[in-house]
């Protein structure tokens, strides 16, 4: 298998790296080294953190050769998300937008209903819309119909590092939705990122797992490797898992004689 040709697409853009790096929660000067070590081609960025021409402007720290994926964090409804997306296009010159709409400051759970509304408006305006959502098949279909470029289901509450709590539901999205499924939020360790990729996720996004580790650079590298390993395993086809005991040769059909 030649992994160099293992390309995936968002809108009309092609990528080979399947690890999307978050940029919040750790020092800005570490972004570049994290990107390099993880081999990331896409870095997310909260537009609300951009401080053009000012101190600690996150845009100054994202390497030029990576795609900036601005998000709408801070938006509480579709209308606010749409306005932030339009600002993001002006500031970043990018048509990518990750929609984050939260109406809950405690758990930061995405509001699927408002996210569908924002997706529809922004897709019509030509954005590559990447909706962050709770993994609900019906809503994911609505997102696809509304013009989403991918679906970004959460694995666990954002920042929790709890891994794939919603695994069964993410698997359903992977099986049923004909768009890249990018697992976003909750991935706390490389093994979980690997598992998401083994399941058939198109990519994985992580931030807190790296930011809260002892060594941002090293953990970014570990995540990148885990994502690659998981992808390779998925492409290779996983061996079957036995639910109990060893493998009897033909427990049910052994009686057949002719």
């Amino acid at each position: 298998m030649n992994t160099e040709k293992d390309i995936w697409k968002l809108g009309n853009h092609e990528f080979t790296s399947r690890f999307i790096l978050g940029s919040g929660k750790y020092s800005l000067e570490l972004i570049q080294v994290a990107v390099e070590n993880a081999g990331a081609q896409i870095v997310t960025m909260a537009l609300r953190r951009a401080n053009e021409g000012g101190l600690a402007n996150i845009l100054d720290y994202i390497p030029e050769n990576v795609t900036i994926l601005p998000n709408t964090s801070g938006a509480r409804n579709a209308e606010e998300a749409v306005r932030i997306a339009r600002l993001a296009r002006e500031v970043c010159g990018s048509e990518f937008i990750k929609i984050e709409i939260m109406r809950d400051s405690r758990y930061l759970l995405p509001d699927n209903y408002e996210t569908v509304k924002a997706t529809e408006i922004l897709a019509k305006e030509g954005f590559v819309v990447m909706p962050y959502m709770y993994p609900d098949l019906n809503v994911a279909r609505d997102m696809a119909d509304a013009g989403a470029a991918c679906i970004m289901p959460l694995g666990a509450p954002i920042g929790s590092n709890k891994g794939l709590c919603t695994k069964e539901f993410i698997q359903i999205l992977i099986d049923e939705i004909d768009l890249p499924i990018i697992v976003d939020a909750g991935i706390g360790r490389p093994s979980q990122a690997c598992e998401a990729m083994e399941m058939g996720a198109a990519a994985v996004m992580a931030n807190t797992a790296i930011a809260s580790s002892g060594d941002v650079k090293a953990m970014a590298g570990a995540m990148g490797q885990a994502v690659q390993a998981g992808r390779t395993a998925y492409l290779a086809g996983l061996g079957q898992t036995r639910t109990r005991g060893g493998s009897a040769s033909s427990p049910l059909t052994g009686y057949l004689r002719d």
């Binding site: 919040g24 929660k25 750790y26 020092s27 800005l28 909260a46 537009l47 609300r48 953190r49 951009a50 401080n51 000012g54 101190l55 600690a56 801070g74 938006a75 509480r76 209308e79 606010e80 306005r83 932030i84 600002l87 939260m102 109406r103 809950d104 400051s105 405690r106 930061l108 920042g159 929790s160 590092n161 807190t208 930011a211 809260s212």
Partner: protein
Amino acid sequence: MSTDQHINESILNDEIREHQKENRTDHMAYLPDMENIGSEMLEQVLTETAAYDYDAFTADDVRHALRQERKSLRDFQALLSPAALPFLEEIAQQAQAETQKYFGNSVSMFTPVYIANYCENYCIYCGFNCHNRIRRAQLNPEEIRREFAAVAKTGLKEVLILTGESRKKSTVEYIGEAVKIAREYFRVIGLEVYPMNSDEYAYLHKCGADYVTVFQETYNPDKYETLHLAGHKRVFPYRFHAQERALMGGMRGVGLAALLGLDDFRKDAFATGMHAYLLQKKYPHAEIAFSCPRLCPIINNDKINPMDVHEAQLLQVVCAYRLFMPFAGITISSRECARVRDNLVQIAATKISAGVSTGIGEHGEEVQDKGDEQFEISDGRTVDEVYHALTDHHLQPVMADYIYV
């Protein structure tokens, strides 16, 4: 000494003692024009706070609280109790881990800008109170612009506008004009002004303000009454419901605080946390922030007061806020010295002021007739110095974290 009799004696003088003897208005009754939103929150907070017997908590209660992933109100009480003090290191470590989970190493920077110091209230502990013969001042729009321009030059993108509490001198319209000017220079604008009605908050939100901070000072109505002798601020419930009215007016977030040390700080910290908890429950989208001002104990005071808030108690309160509401912002004031602030931002605080002046018109150099300060600050570091202190501690200064839409 009983809790009820506790008072920080440094704030008393003969004039105040005379006033305290006079008949005073009912501090629980609304004045005309004060919007009454009829919330039950106040009763819940007062009832639970009155019932909070912190001496009843044991080391086992604290250990139990520390084991819980989500702290209940009872866990919060345990963490604020004297029994928790021997666990302070463990508590601080857990608080630090929670802070990192929710905020990473980000610390927001801002500065307060005092545009007026006229005040109609008689709060016996405050430098601005209407009986203090200090130089009063109010900046006009041109002076406000100069102040903001000077602050903006330091690189800050967030300001907190303060006025003192005089509705007559610093009208809602006056504050609104200041907010509009601030919008030209800053991304995030907070208000720390007198409590007002929800339609007035809505107006100021429309002008560009994002969040509102109101200090309740103390949640003990009886003690409150003895400290706030006159003025609108005397009306305890109107002040209590200010944050809710601000949220009703569309503000993104609200800040709360008790001035620790005015009364029983453990009860006040509990009440502040519970107030915040109930607000967040009722308005889930609201961003919540705590401030942690304290009256510093008098050094060499021969009366050792168990109610004094020393550095350890301050840390205990800050950590208890963090563990009870891990997602809430915590602001640490320049009343604290650089050493305390630099350590608290590494543990639990998420917002720090810099380049602070509590006088009127001190940022712009050309403003004459400056008004006097509200209180003396202990950390007079410039924006640049605080910025580098943060980066030296491997923290990431954040100048803007919000887009006004």
